[in-house]
């Protein structure tokens, strides 16, 4: 590949049209254009506006709460500052700006920013005539955010159930959240997600090593591929193959993220105590007919 060919390909694909909203509103997508290297499109502009709005809410809230009180000294206190959830009294209603309203606005605009980023990826996929795998995976990741910040607080009937936004704040929230349900390690979906993330890291390193270990070890790429397969078959008795490894990684990631959703949504609305959850297990096993 030369730079000329890459530029040639880019010049072929980099033109208006094929977007989600093309020819549906205004007879065309008005914002269907690039800024420098970035494709923007209508979703990009909405995303930028949402990012600006969310950041404004964060900065205004931080300013009002005194997180930036030492502004002139240059101590912005980014680590200890926080945008906190509304107090319980506001329930699912609208809270005043400095008592959680900033958190509500930040969550709304952040969710809009994430979603429009995914839609912008959909537009790019359509322009390049690719599958939608990346935006689908990203949407699954957004669902983990939405589970914590929107779905679960809604089911609990109070925005105060959401996660505080801030470096220390979200760590402390996570710590307390685990203790509130007695032992987060006994949350089965937490265990599955944890296992998923770590095994995913193992798969990732195995895949990276396979490619870095074999590329340009021979003139013929078929010989290099033979080396990949031979290695894994000798090593563990099975080679999943070039296509298979990417499909495994993809669905493994989806599975892990869905477990993140279950992990959070069950905590509170459905399960109050993850240690007690396991109490069902012992009588169930004990009462198996062949163990009587």
């Amino acid at each position: 590949m030369t730079a000329l060919e890459f530029a040639n390909a880019e010049s072929y694909y980099r033109k208006p049209g094929k977007t989600l909203l093309d020819r549906t509103i205004f007879g065309g997508d008005l914002f269907d254009t690039w800024v420098g290297r970035f494709y923007v499109g209508i979703w990009g502009w909405i995303c930028l506006a949402a990012i600006f709005a969310a950041l404004s809410a964060v900065l205004l809230s931080a300013h009002g709460n005194g997180d930036f009180r030492s502004w002139q000294s240059g101590d912005y206190d980014l680590l200890r500052g926080a945008v906190n959830t509304p107090p319980r009294q506001y329930g699912l209603g609208v809270a005043p700006f400095y008592q959680g309203g900033a958190w509500q606005l930040t969550v709304i605009f952040a969710t809009i920013a994430f979603s429009t980023w995914a839609l912008r990826e959909v537009d790019i996929c359509r322009k390049l005539e690719m599958g939608y795998h990346v935006p689908v995976m990203f949407a699954t990741a957004i669902s983990a955010w939405a589970s914590v910040q929107i779905v679960r607080p809604f089911l609990m009937g109070c925005w105060c159930e959401g996660m505080d936004l801030g470096f220390t704040a979200h760590l402390t929230w996570t710590s307390n959240y685990g203790w509130r349900f007695f032992n987060w390690y006994m949350n089965p979906w937490h265990d599955l997600a944890l296992t998923g993330f770590f095994i995913g890291a193992l798969f990732t390193m195995m895949h990276g090593s396979a490619i870095l270990g074999t590329f340009n070890t021979d003139r013929n790429p078929k010989v290099e591929m033979l080396r990949e397969d031979n290695f894994w078959r000798d090593y563990v008795g099975y080679s999943i193959g070039e296509y298979g490894i990417h499909r495994l990684l993809y669905y493994w990631g989806i599975f892990t993220l869905i477990n993140c959703d279950f992990m959070d949504i069950t905590a509170g609305p459905f399960i109050k105590d993850y240690i007690a959850l396991w109490q069902w297990h012992w009588p169930w096993v004990h009462n198996l007919p062949w163990l009587q």
Binding site: R37, M137, G208, S209, I211, L212, G237, E242
Partner: protein, 345 residues
């Protein structure tokens, strides 16, 4: 390389699906003869009715035995049998109770100093099991190195494997040795493992405030982000052959060009078929390194991560801290261990 445009889009070299990969081995390596246990067991096979949709280009068999592999498997099963036997003894040899309490049975490290446990029941089983599992893992590492030589791989895989091995070493060996007691190490059991992770965090003042734990979480989620982005990108362009990655490193085709353009337009930056795999190797390596540091730093940096965070400005102080109570306490507290109350036969 020809670039042409047809009704389906631009084709740089055009899609070039490679023929199905043969189930055959490259020429034998000089290493093969020098290994007394160097035999391949089994035969290559595929499962035809699963191959189309589920396994696609997956290949089963054979398995190279080899001295390192045989030793590794032998050590692992020896440790496993020892663990199962010791746990079975805890439920008085009742197999059904063993299955009933499978998640609860565990063997504990000795709660004294660093010497041999006085008896097998007071930690000797744990020392033997950990030793056997360590030998097993190290032999498997040796197997990775010898396989890289046999199949002419650069040794990225074994060097990557060293990172989690160092983490395991920190958890089971280096950190307990520095603290002067095996009791710092995890017990061996299903819930025991989870309980250790839980208690270890509290014992060192909440791991959420441990900067290496923070780094490790960021690396873990970053690894997963790369995993999802890479796998999604390749699957989305695999119809144009982007999954033939070693071939794409030599010469880009339309699938990989689309993959690169996607990320260039999305975030202003794109990797290449080669460099993305450097990212995929380096992020898990950073993860393991952070995990290693996060274990080793306990008792070296601080005895309490909350206090450390407050002192270093990374954590908000929620209330008064009694430093004497938190920091000046004995490091190794002997633990009274209650075995689960089991019904007598």
């Amino acid at each position: 390389m020809a670039t042409y445009i047809d009704q389906y889009g631009i084709r740089v070299g055009g899609p070039q699906p490679l023929p199905p990969k043969p189930l055959e081995y490259a020429e034998p390596s000089p290493l093969d003869g020098s290994d007394p246990l160097g035999v391949r067991i089994g035969k290559p096979f595929t499962i035809p009715f699963l191959q189309d949709k589920l396994l696609v280009d997956g290949q089963f068999g054979t398995f190279w035995l080899g001295t390192f592999g045989t030793l590794s498997i032998a050590f692992f099963f020896a440790g496993l049998v020892m663990w199962a036997g010791a746990c079975l003894a805890q439920v008085h040899g009742h197999l059904e109770l063993f299955f009933q309490y499978f998640a609860n049975v565990q063997i504990l490290p000795p709660d004294g100093g660093l010497g041999y446990a006085p008896t097998l029941e007071s930690g000797g089983w744990w020392q033997w099991c950990v030793g056997l599992f360590a030998l097993s893992v190290l032999c498997w590492l040796g197997r990775a190195f010898e396989h890289c030589r046999r199949h002419k791989w650069r040794p990225w895989l074994p060097f990557g494997f060293i990172v989690p091995i160092m983490w395991m070493g920190a958890v089971y060996f280096f950190h307990p040795v520095l603290m002067g007691t095996w009791a710092e190490a995890p017990q061996l059991g299903w819930y025991g493992d989870l309980d250790w992770a839980n208690n270890f965090s509290i014992r060192w003042g909440n791991f959420y405030y441990n900067p290496f734990h923070q780094w490790a979480i960021a690396s873990l989620f970053g690894t997963s982000l790369l995993l999802g982005a890479h796998a999604g990108t390749i699957l989305a362009t695999a119809s144009e052959g982007s999954h033939h990655e070693v071939a794409e490193i030599k010469e880009l085709h339309s699938g990989s060009i689309k993959a690169m353009l996607f990320w260039k337009w999305t975030m202003g930056f794109n990797a290449t078929p080669k460099s993305i795999h450097v990212w995929l190797w380096a992020f898990p390596a950073a993860l393991g390194t952070a995990c290693f540091c996060g274990i080793m730093a306990n008792g070296i940096f601080t005895d309490n991560w909350y206090v450390w965070g407050v002192d270093h400005g990374t954590v908000k102080q929620y209330g008064p801290i009694s430093r004497d109570a938190i920091l000046h306490r004995p490091l190794a507290v002997p633990i009274e261990v209650d075995q689960p109350g089991l019904p007598r036969p």
